[in-house]
């Protein structure tokens, strides 16, 4: 029989807790001194990225996204706070330890940052040279990586001969060379056209699923969050103003994410005797003939003021701002609520 003492149980849970997150930010601040005044690029950021998830940080330019992602591999040193990657405290590392740690955190960039004087194969081999692979090992690994990103035939091409999407694939292959558990994506699709963006996001999603790769990405495009992110944080002026699983936030009419995501709601008073409400739902309710059901059961007229049904990942979510006219409008909304629709009455 095995008995756990109180001590061993609690220490077991503690280690469990520490290794739980792929990336942990705790109260991270980054202050730039500009002449007399200090500018806080990050103003107390706390977030957790779980292993195997795709975590998006959404924000406008100047919100601090770029500083945030660079704090992960310490390209930017935070002024205060803690940054952990797979349980390792990054802010304490320097010199050789930091460089070794960086070798196993992949990073891809908006402008790809490929070396113009190296061929695709040589560029992908670059981090392997740094890690210390032999020439023979490099050759085998590069072939494997190029196959992974679908660039088998391009080994001897120079970046100038590649399209944007192909360049980013080289960037991804190179970022994966150190067999990272974590990939940082710095606006990786912002310089690409919509179709290429989708193919790159598909590749990232595929790598995430097949290899359990954790991805932290920053973007200013809602489309990227909608297409691949499991969780999201909205960054504004160095602070996270909202965070959580995308599927949760997007079905809450009051969340910033859903307000950004769905068509803008109409700002007007209800007509006489009418009620305006916003309802939201996800895949589970997406096929329901809900408006005709309301009309039949509660004898109300429903007009749609704004809204849409959108694919998010491989599911659908919808949000409609509706105006109900009829004596039993309140009952109709209660009924929706009971069916698990999120309902917000204006």
């Amino acid at each position: 029989m095995i008995t756990f003492t109180q001590d061993s149980v609690s220490s077991f849970f503690q280690t469990e807790n520490e290794t739980e997150n792929a990336i942990t930010f705790t109260d991270v601040r980054k202050v730039y001194q500009q002449g007399d005044h200090a500018i806080a690029a990050l103003d107390g950021v706390t977030l957790q990225v779980k292993p195997g998830e795709i975590y998006g940080v959404l924000g406008q330019s100047g919100a601090g996204k770029s500083t945030l992602i660079r704090c992960v591999n310490q390209l930017e040193k935070p002024t205060s706070g803690s940054v952990q990657v797979n349980g390792q405290e990054m802010t304490r590392l320097s010199g050789k330890e930091l460089r070794q740690s960086r070798q196993h955190i992949g990073m891809i960039f908006q402008h790809f940052n490929l070396l113009s004087c190296r061929t695709v194969a040589q560029d992908v081999a670059f981090p392997l040279e740094i890690i210390g692979y032999s020439k023979l090992q490099r050759k085998a690994k590069v072939e494997e990586l190029l196959a992974l990103v679908g660039l088998e035939g391009k080994a001897n091409a120079y970046p100038a001969q590649l399209s944007g999407g192909q360049k980013q694939r080289v960037g991804i292959a190179r970022a994966l060379a150190g067999e990272p558990k974590v990939l940082l994506s710095d606006e990786a699709t912002s310089a690409l056209d919509p179709q290429t963006t989708r193919s790159i996001l598909d590749l990232l999603r595929d790598l995430n699923r097949r290899m359990g790769l954790t991805i932290l990405l920053i973007t200013h495009e809602m489309g990227v969050v909608k297409y691949i992110c499991d969780s999201v944080a909205i960054l504004n002026a160095g602070r996270i103003v909202e965070q959580g699983p995308v599927s949760d936030l997007i079905t809450k009419p009051e969340s910033l994410l859903s307000q950004e995501f769905f068509p803008r709601r109409v700002q007007r008073q209800p007509r006489a005797g009418a009620v305006i409400a916003t309802i939201a739902f996800d895949e589970a309710l997406a096929d329901e003939p809900i408006f005709s059901a309301l009309t039949r059961h509660f004898d109300v007229n429903v007009s749609i003021l704004s809204g849409s049904v959108e694919p998010v990942g491989d599911r659908r979510v919808g949000q409609f701002q509706i105006e109900l006219v009829g004596e039993r409008a309140a009952d109709a909304l209660k009924y929706l609520h009971e069916l698990n629709y999120a309902v917000e009455v204006h």
């Binding site: 591999n73 390209l75 930091l98 460089r99 070794q100 740690s101 960086r102 070798q103 955190i105 990073m107 960039f109 402008h111 940052n113 070396l115 113009s116 004087c117 190296r118 670059f126 981090p127 040279e129 740094i130 890690i131 120079y158 970046p159 100038a160 190179r174 150190g178 940082l184």
Partner: protein, 218 residues
């Protein structure tokens, strides 16, 4: 001078010019390139950002570049005698030529290296490169096509500077042109010298462009 005498004279002078330019270019590149790299890396916002070292280094380079070459030739005479044991001839001309060439090439190299996309340095840092790896695997190879053009400019500049050295007894094509062409009014020598210089400059520029182009994978 005419006929075989002229050809012999030109040949000797050309060899002397090659000697002066060749050695001073070699030393200027060996010392100027690291200096240019340091100027870039120590500059604000760069990987070794250090204003306390950058400012004096930059000032030293500027000082070296402030002297008109003809003044440098004269001012350095005692120093030249100290270094090479003589103040006349091609070997003596090497000293001021090299000293003028180092800061000049440092600035040329700095400009070339500054052209390297900062994103590449960031990508290399993110991969875990140390400073040496960033210099040897990113900065120098990426800047090389532009550095080669800088060396071309350096060679042509030293060619004309070495001719000036010729005016004070430094030997080479400049010396020939001044002594025979100018002081003895030998127009044939003057023309011959100029034609040799024109051909040399054309060839140097042609090769420089070719090499730079073949290194540029765009």
């Amino acid at each position: 001078m005419q006929g075989q005498e002229l050809i012999d004279g030109l040949w000797v002078a050309t060899v002397e010019t090659f000697y002066m330019v060749g050695i001073s270019v070699l030393i200027a590149v060996i010392l100027g390139l690291p200096l240019g790299l340091l100027l870039v890396m120590l500059s604000p916002g760069n990987i070794l950002d250090n204003p306390k070292l950058h400012k004096p280094l930059s000032a030293i380079v500027n000082t070296g570049r402030s002297f008109p070459f003809i003044i440098l030739l004269v001012v350095l005479t005692p120093f030249t005698r100290l270094v090479v044991g003589t103040s006349i001839g091609s070997t003596a001309a090497l000293v001021p030529l090299t000293l003028a060439a180092i800061p000049f090439f440092a600035r040329l190299a700095e400009t070339s290296i500054l052209e390297v996309d900062k994103g590449l340095i960031e990508a290399a840092e993110a991969m875990g490169c140390n400073y040496w790896q960033i210099v040897l695997k990113v900065l120098v190879p990426e800047a090389l096509p532009s550095i080669v053009l800088g060396v071309t400019i350096l060679i042509v500049n030293l060619l004309s500077a070495s001719a000036m050295a010729g005016a004070v007894g430094g030997g080479g094509l400049g010396n020939l042109a001044i002594q025979y062409g100018y002081q003895r009014f030998d127009v044939a020598v003057m023309f011959a010298t100029i034609i040799v210089l024109i051909i040399l400059v054309q060839l140097i520029q042609l090769f420089g462009d070719r090499i730079s182009q073949s290194l540029r994978k765009k």
